[in-house]
């Protein structure tokens, strides 16, 4: 195909994908049904890969589809399906509007060593059982964090202004939602990446995708041998260089009439830019392309050496990390939480932290805000991976939303009835902090909120009742901790189960029959 229609198709498709994914992460009203997430996220490479390889979900074949797509068509994924890539195209466009100079890309040499090096670290650490580098570099998750950390508060702000105006007219279809920031430390990585990616995209097009992104590099190996590719028409090309100027990947060497297919993201801007119809996208022609097969590549050697060093180092890092985080607080602190609490469906802390790329989809989807990005609760490498934060909310008894949306298999689907029996932690009562003990007045907020009555009230002094906990029926939902009014330390808190357990069913005795006459 030589038509510039390709570029327009790409643009329209990409904008739709971008809007869809932005909505996925900004949807604070939970408009999207639980069933919508699976199909939408199916083709996201890293989540699909993790779910298949680590969580062992055989149906998670989206990444294979992407690999096949790349073998056939090149890095179509990067321009059509990757929300982070599309976002960068948008930023580049703005950059081009701000400064005409930023619109002219021109050929640049690839940062091959760096690319391979980063892919090597990511793959190496993953091979050793750590998802930590992917957490930071997965483009889908990076995009998710941009939306959650930065776009959603803006959306909420606009929503709340609208809600205030409409409220004056008694219209409540749009309602206010309080903006609740996360812990400040959790913002460091998303903010740094927003700055880095924003800056690179603003000025250099797809430089991030072709230097840092491990998915881009990996797909680049396959796109080099793809069946369909961008190519020059020797007869028509006048070497005007427009194609190279329009190439966001800076991968067109028009003087040599070659395209670096490992970096080409199939945006089709070059085809559109060529006045002579000298560029096209089509089936590969079996002809040796000049300069495409270098005999030795010094950067490749550097990459291999570098990766080996890093894999060795990475293994130490992971060993130091351990399979479960070590207790973060010593016993002198009142809320002596030994373990953080991982969400229901995650089976346990180690399983969860080895699968989660901190895309924050669950953080958004959670209707009670109990899922919050962690800082150091899972250990340093687990930064941003969500934990159950019972000061922000508590886990709704009948809700399985997070288990329905997670694309990586870090939180596996749970039926509601199974979820109600999954003990993610156990409540611990600190009598010394309790209002009933310190103030000698009634309270019981904890027991009030408890869905299983694992936290129940027993006689204390005089008429007063004080909480007591039945461990075996506690599911660790944290309603008690959330409701507990004491500060700065709560009188009741949930200590995580490193490996989730099964809770027992609460027992119920027969009640006396209802009175047949008024007792007054």
């Amino acid at each position: 195909m030589k038509s510039s229609a390709l570029k327009h198709i790409r643009t329209v498709f990409a904008v739709l994908v971008l809007l869809l994914f932005a909505f996925l992460f900004i949807d604070f009203r939970g408009i999207l049904g639980d069933k919508a997430f699976g199909p939408i996220l199916y083709l996201q490479f890293v989540p699909s890969f993790l779910k298949f390889v680590i969580a062992g979900v055989a149906a998670s074949t989206g990444f294979i589809a992407v690999l096949i797509l790349t073998l056939l068509t090149g890095r179509t994924y990067c321009s059509f399906l990757c929300p982070l890539g599309i976002l960068q195209d948008g930023i580049s466009r703005v950059g081009g509007l701000v400064k005409r100079r930023f619109r002219r890309y021109g050929y640049k040499k690839p940062w091959t060593a760096l690319r391979y090096f980063i892919l090597g670290i990511t793959a190496g650490i993953m091979a050793l059982g750590g998802v930590y580098v992917l957490t930071i570099l997965d483009p889908y998750s990076t995009f998710g964090r941009f939306m959650t950390y930065f776009a959603q508060p803006v959306a909420l702000f606009v929503n709340n202004i609208l809600a205030s105006i409409l409220g004056k007219f008694d219209i409540y279809t749009i309602y206010r939602v309080d903006i609740k920031p996360y812990e400040i430390v959790a913002y460091i990585i998303p903010a740094a990446f927003l700055f880095l990616i924003g800056l690179l995209a603003f000025r250099y097009g797809r430089l991030y995708c072709n230097t840092v992104c491990p998915v881009g590099t990996l797909l680049g190996f396959l796109s080099k041998i793809s069946l369909f590719r961008i190519r020059f028409d020797d007869a028509k090309c006048t070497r005007c260089g427009r194609c190279a100027m329009s190439c966001k990947s800076s991968c067109i060497d028009f003087l040599n009439k070659t395209v670096d297919l490992s970096r080409c993201v199939n945006c089709f801007n070059c085809i559109d830019s060529c006045k002579e119809n000298g560029m096209s996208y089509g089936l590969v022609r079996l002809k040796k392309q000049p300069g495409s097969d270098e005999t030795t590549d010094p950067s490749r050697r550097g990459f291999i050496a570098g990766s080996l060093v890093l894999i060795a180092g990475g293994s130490q890092l992971i060993r130091a990390q351990g399979t479960t985080p070590t207790p973060t607080k010593d016993s002198t602190v009142k809320e002596d939480r030994l373990y953080p609490v991982s969400p229901p469906g995650s089976a346990g802390i180690a399983t969860f932290t080895s699968r989660c790329t901190a895309c924050t989809l669950c953080v958004n989807a959670c209707p009670t805000n109990v899922l919050q990005p962690s800082v150091s609760e899972y250990g340093f490498a687990g930064i941003m991976q969500p934990r159950m934060d019972f000061h922000s909310g508590f886990c709704n008894y009948d809700c399985t939303r997070c288990t329905d949306v997670c694309p990586t298999g870090a939180i596996m689907p749970l039926m509601v009835e199974a979820k109600k029996m999954t003990q993610i932690g156990k409540a611990v009562f600190i009598k010394e902090n309790c209002i009933v003990h310190t103030e000698k007045t009634a309270c019981g907020a904890c027991s009030e909120h408890c869905p299983t009555k694992a936290c129940h009230m027993v006689p204390y002094e005089g008429k007063l009742l004080i909480p007591e906990i039945k461990d075996e029926i506690c599911i660790g939902c944290g309603a008690c901790e959330y409701a507990c009014p004491t500060r700065p330390y709560r009188a009741i808190f949930v200590d995580g189960n490193p490996i989730h357990e099964a809770a027992s069913k609460p027992e119920a005795e027969e009640l006396k029959a209802a009175p047949a006459e008024f007792p007054f």
Partner: protein
């Protein structure tokens, strides 16, 4: 549109029902104007019917809804929608009752009827799964969010012992009429929840109450000038233990009852009795009675007992 449909259909239904009821003792129940009340009842207690029917019958003894709602007024109906559970679990006010009360308000000439609660569980799930959001819409009322602190404004309670200021929902401040519709339940904090305790759903910071002598705060709030003019306690399925959320339907006693009063201490005293507790054993009832908020001595009350 819904409201218009509602009015149209109610007109038809009204005509039919009117013909039937013209000889019955309920003839003025829906007339929307105050009836000459033979007696000044402290409490209306109805037993044996469905929630809506019991209300139709009971409100008549107080002269119908027109006693409380005048033409063109903004009405706030405050049920308990605290929990994300289905109506069968009895943790929230019965939606059929809420619907019926709103219909009575409109027939009495209310301009608009609003419903909200500051829920304990996620408010959207509570509104939906309690069945109350749908009931309100079906009756033509407006269900309003109570989930954001920005809806709440500070008020003062000059005579409060522990609670002298608190933030209340703007609807409490803006409405002409305030109708309190609690569900009767066992309660782990306050021992029992009814009319007085239901006010914890119109304020923002419940934690403050819990920290500062909960029962005294519940009683203190009842001193606030914008108080409900009518209390309707849903005692259809009464949660006898594991309240206020409940664990299972095994916690419920099917009392099929409804209490109506303008005195919230009296209605809570009766509620306590229904649950097999002495009113004097419920601290916030005794505190409120002691502060002159209402009467708790059931023996001295003029009670209208109705059986269906």
């Amino acid at each position: 549109m819904k409201r218009r449909n509602f009015l149209r259909s109610s007109l038809g239904a009204g005509l039919a029902a009117g013909a039937f009821m013209s000889f019955s003792r309920y003839e003025n129940a829906l007339a929307g104007k105050p009836l000459p009340s033979a007696e000044n009842y402290d409490l209306i207690a109805v037993m044996g019917g469905e929630p809506a029917a019991m209300f139709d019958m009971g409100i008549q003894s107080l002269g119908g809804m027109g006693t409380f709602v005048r033409k063109g007024q903004k009405v706030l109906v405050k049920p308990n929608i605290g929990w994300d559970v289905v109506p069968e679990k009895g943790a929230n006010t019965n939606p059929a009752l809420v619907k019926r009360i709103i219909e009575h308000c409109y027939r009495a000439g209310a301009k608009e009827v609003y419903v909200f609660d500051n829920t304990c569980d996620n408010w959207i799930k509570c509104y939906k799964n309690s069945g109350i959001e749908q009931a309100v819409k079906d009756a033509g009322g407006k269900i309003v969010p109570g989930n954001s602190e920005s809806y709440y404004h500070e008020i003062t309670i000059p005579n409060g012992k522990k609670l002298t200021k608190t933030k209340v929902h703007e609807l409490v401040l803006e409405s002409d009429v305030f109708i309190n519709v609690p569900v009767l339940k066992n309660h782990s904090s306050a021992m029992m929840t009814g009319a007085l305790k239901n006010m914890m759903g119109v304020i923002w910071d419940r934690g403050y109450w819990h920290r500062n002598n909960l029962n005294q705060c519940i009683a203190d709030y009842a001193l606030y000038s914008r108080k409900p003019s009518l209390h309707i306690t849903d005692a259809y399925n009464v949660m006898m233990r594991n309240g206020p959320r409940g664990v299972s339907v095994a916690d419920l006693s099917n009392m099929k009852s409804l209490l109506i009063s303008t005195d919230w201490v009296a209605i809570d005293a009766a509620g306590a009795k229904m649950m097999g507790k002495e009113p004097s054993s419920i601290e916030h009832i005794t505190l409120a009675a002691g502060m002159g908020i209402g009467k708790m001595d059931l023996a001295s009350m003029n009670i209208h007992r109705l059986k269906m």
